[in-house]
Symmetry: C2
Subunit: 334 residues, 2 copies
Amino acid sequence: MNIQRAFSIKGVGKYLPKTTISSSKIEEELGLSKGYIFKNIGVKTRHVAMEESNTFMAEQALRSALKDANMSIKDIDCLIGASATFDYIIPNRSCLIKNAFKEAFDLDFPCIDIDTVCTSFISALDYATLLLHSGDYRNIAIVSSEISSIGLNPNDAETYSLFGDGAAAVIISTTNQKNGLIQYKSKTYAEGAKYTIIEAGGNMNPTKNVPYDPALYSFQMQGRKLLKKVKSTLPIFLSQFFKPLPVSLQDINLIIPHQASKLGLRMLATLNKGNSENIVDQLENHGNCIAASIPIALVTSIENKTLTEGDTCFLLGTAAGITISGLLFKYSRL
Amino acid sequence: MNIQRAFSIKGVGKYLPKTTISSSKIEEELGLSKGYIFKNIGVKTRHVAMEESNTFMAEQALRSALKDANMSIKDIDCLIGASATFDYIIPNRSCLIKNAFKEAFDLDFPCIDIDTVCTSFISALDYATLLLHSGDYRNIAIVSSEISSIGLNPNDAETYSLFGDGAAAVIISTTNQKNGLIQYKSKTYAEGAKYTIIEAGGNMNPTKNVPYDPALYSFQMQGRKLLKKVKSTLPIFLSQFFKPLPVSLQDINLIIPHQASKLGLRMLATLNKGNSENIVDQLENHGNCIAASIPIALVTSIENKTLTEGDTCFLLGTAAGITISGLLFKYSRL
């Protein structure tokens, strides 16, 4: 297949919070029957940031990726923050991550944030390939770090039991090999923009006027409406995505979907002709980690050799917005 | 000069909140002497969003840009939100802007947010030229919409009297003319990442644990430290920016700086060999509108014909982070 914009993955890293919370503990807390959450939501356990910040997790993930790449922060030409949650409203995430590297205080490489909620990593990876292709950069770090746990409402069992926290970093580099981006597409179906929302904390319902209320300050999801919209649009998205390509979804070596929900993953397996073998599913041990889900799964797949040199890999995500994004690439370290 | 990535500006629009608040009114409120704010901060009046949301202002600015371009929302291939403030934490800004166009419900063009705080518009414009250049898009809308007024602390006279609200939209398009991006550079000096900060409202000090306090939930600026850092880095940034070009800062037809502060604008005039004639200064009537400052100034300059066909225009901004970004382009509607 034609490589649209070549890149190699030089290093990957992840950080998962020390504390894990089992679904059985949440079942006790919410008064749900034993096994209810795994059966209905698909999650057995998730990491929860009790002592970590978004920036700390991002820093650890990036340090791990640098080590994997045999690089230092001095080798990085641009840092992209690709997350939906943040430590501070201002400044932006990526500048805070760079700030955590005290040894980078005399380095002037730029930091930028990309936000398409759960598909931020995919958007950032496409953007990074454009930057590499523009000739100004050689090594770009993309970091997704998410703490969902602070914005969950214990009175909403569906979201409270679904989400988890974590971070991952990927360093992509220029290459003269024929590896890298085959195709990227993103589409937004804005009719469903408010199907998933945090009502308060922004300018619409500022903390100045709206005191803390778990319902208003937590992530709300109209799950049924969202699933209905994705059900009607995802097959069209996939059909349009693969139409210009000489391969179909079934031919891809590894499919890494956003770990949106059990039903979402099942929907994808159905569209993959009932085959879930080449679809990465880590919902059971991580839950939905917002934008960090896809890169955590990517890092894990590289670490455990599910994704190996020369494989085709398809990142596919649905996000609040509603945005659907897909990025097909040929994986290589070279 | 060589055009690195061609583009034309097909349409521009802005929206300014209906309510204006004069500095004399703020002087009364804060017990400051008459004329203090204009003398020290440089602002006489600013627009304040009393009845408008970020999304509403963005929508109005984009509708105005579409009208100017003689386009409808159907002609847009991608929408980039380029702001630091937001109506909701989730979903992202650009999806909410698209959602305000009910006539766009059956359109699937993608929405993406770029955040480099005050320089978000510059970052988004560079990104948009990369997208145009990649061949997938013809017309891209960039929208910056900022409400700073909600996050200001009346006990902090410096910031309370400096900021204003507003929105602007620019539609850029492919062209076969030799106009467009000449050069873009961005650098982040992360040592100063926390010189400008909103302490609470993110995961570090979440509303769940930290009740409303104007100091914690408002924008804080260590003005002196910030200015010192910019004073030492901006001359180097400009020198590096213009080194590869056959022109210097003084040769540019129009310089549109971020309206950061009176001292910041004065510093730029000094670096421009004392000439402030070709530097757009709208601090007096708008204040610092975060990421919307630069595009509002760009739109106004096009509307009042300060920027005309074929002119060179240099966008230059400093942002929380600390990020400095510059983008030089040859302006054309063709």
